[in-house]
Amino acid sequence: MNLDDPRAASATPTVDLQPSGDSGNGARTPVTPYPQRRATDHPVARHLPASILSPPTPPPPPHLDDYQPIVGQNQLDMLRYLARELKGKTIKMVNSTAVGGGVAEMLNRLVPLLSELEVPARWDVITGGNDFFEITKAFHNALHGASYELTKSAQDIFLMYNEQNRERMQFDEQMVVIHDPQPVGMIRSKEKSQAHWVWRCHVDLSNPDAKVWEFLRPFVEQYNSVIFSSQSFARQLPIPQYLFYPCIDPLSEKNKDLPASQVQKICDDFGIDRSRPVVTQVSRFDRLKDPVGVVKAYKLAKKYVDCQLVLAGGGASDDPEGAVVLQEVKEAAGDDPDIIILDLPPWCALEINAIQRASTIIVQKSLKEGFGLTVTEALWKAKPTIAGAVGGIPNQIVHKLTGVLVHSVEGCAFQIRYLLTHPEFARNIGVSGREHVKENFLMTTNVKRWLLLFRVLEKLKDRNSSA
């Protein structure tokens, strides 16, 4: 779920944005005001405060020194040292959307930071018609394992738009990074360029539709290297594969520190009683996030411990399936006044931040997951976190050390009871979880990985040319 306002994406002077107007997953959606019908008449669905019904003005992107209080001067010195050897060398990032979605969100931060380190990064966005983005959305789903009939016509449309974009782009940089499958065909310009070509795959390729993967694989194999978000997402390929964990920005609206008074006000607005334990799951209303399972776990736990359950998410207004799942959640919740269901607009990052900070425990009981950045967000706030052992979550949660992993409703219920009744253990795993994020999953670590990769590839090139 992208809870940041897609319209709030902040372009920087060094970013060449050519917004395609798509929503991040390939589906083009018009920008419309958020519907006022959020306030439903269901007993447990809360009325939303008027203050969040329209998007806020985005804050300016942070500078490197803004991260110093969080990661320390040593980290910033190290980034500057790494960048020094690359000074003046340039990077091009290419993806399929300028606004919305995790990739654009990450690039919005990464590109200005690299440029501030005097490794100028240019960000180009491919364009395409609805036919192209419908196909790439289908590819995306097929790579996640959905069945898909790959036609010759779909292949032709995919290749045609890739060629159109390739012809209008220059590849004069020293490193070209192509994000995800949509622009994968840009590799055809490799022969004419001196760059290292890197394919950054944000998609889980562990169980792809065979035909779609076989169509894409010849492109992928022409790259110099590929990057995955988890070792479990990778394929066997004849090129080096690197592991870059996704990251969160500790200075974003979703993750920055908040004054206690602001957290309290937002809880008051939503009717969350902070004098009693709060168990929260933040995720869109999607069956793969198992919100009904969370309600069941809460009800099992509540036989023994007093608590409230907050289910904060979105996606029910623009996704027909989301609306159905929201209805299922409401039915499972029944008339329990301690279950607070919040169907929030996508720009409510600050509100989500406050709710996470006000929570006693955070749950992410996903049945299938990408990397699971909501888990990263929870850990960053030092919250004891219970999560399904799926996707990239085990990379973040070392069981009983940085959080707890569960495999069932009953397991989740037990861990809610245990953490609520063992606050010292809960506090310890929360503290370790935050350290784990600080070490491995922050934006500054992401900047470091790009600089390291660039240096390693440059060294390889030097070695090859001298040989």
Partner: protein
């Protein structure tokens, strides 16, 4: 105590993770992969993982032990693998052989465990290492103490834990410098005895600083 002749160069190392080709779905496959994987994979899952999890005080030793427990539910094997102290090895090959021996011994007495599928695979990784200098190059004990207090924990890991693979001695860079340059044999020995498996790297830093501080004042 004497005035050091050579400065101590505080460096740090950063790692770029690579996804390896080996993957294990059972303990037998793990044993085979440990035996055949590149040395930098063994380094990654033992020395390097300690750095990635430097904030955990106890309960984390190496990735093989962690996987044996969390994915194979074999606590006895996990305990044995976790008990392997990387400081006993000055070369990766010795560490690899020890890990293989432990898994072999376990599988000989638990035959059925070898082929039982794990709940999730073990993916072998490795890392490209980039060593970087820091601003700290002291040539006095006081400057050395300042460096210990101010460098990143990655630098502490680089000099205290990874060092023995570089210098091929059962020691570490700090102890070696204190002994050879400052003549502080007792402090060098005390630092070598610090147990980092029951400490965070911040805790290790504090203990080293305490030992150096004590040596300066005596």
């Amino acid at each position: 105590m004497r005035k050091p002749q050579k400065p101590f160069y505080f460096n740090t190392s950063e790692h770029l993770l690579r996804i390896g080709r080996q993957k294990a779905g059972t303990l037998s496959e793990l044993r085979h992969a440990i035996e055949t994987c590149p040395e930098d994979s063994i380094f990654q899952h033992t020395f390097r993982t300690l750095q990635e999890h430097h904030f955990i005080r106890q309960g984390f030793s190496n990735d093989f032990a962690h996987w044996s427990l969390s994915a194979c539910h074999e606590p006895a094997l996990a305990e044995q693998l976790a008990s392997v102290d990387v400081r006993e090895f000055t070369a990766i090959e010795g560490l690899r052989r020890r890990m293989v021996e432990i898994v072999d011994e376990f599988l000989q007495s638990h035959e059925r465990s070898g082929s039982r599928p794990a709940s999730e695979p073990f993916y072998f990784c490795a890392s490209d290492i980039v060593v970087l200098p820091t601003a700290f190059v002291p040539d006095t004990l006081k400057g050395f103490l300042d460096g210990i207090n101010q460098v990143s924990v990655h630098s502490i890991h680089h000099h205290f834990i990874e060092a023995r693979l570089r210098i091929h001695r059962m020691s570490n860079d700090f102890s070696q410098w204190l002994e050879e340059e400052a003549g502080l044999q007792d402090a060098a020995d005390a630092i070598e005895r610090i147990d980092f498996y029951t400490n965070t790297l911040e805790g290790v830093r504090r203990q080293i600083a305490g030992i150096v501080s004590h040596a300066m004042n005596n």
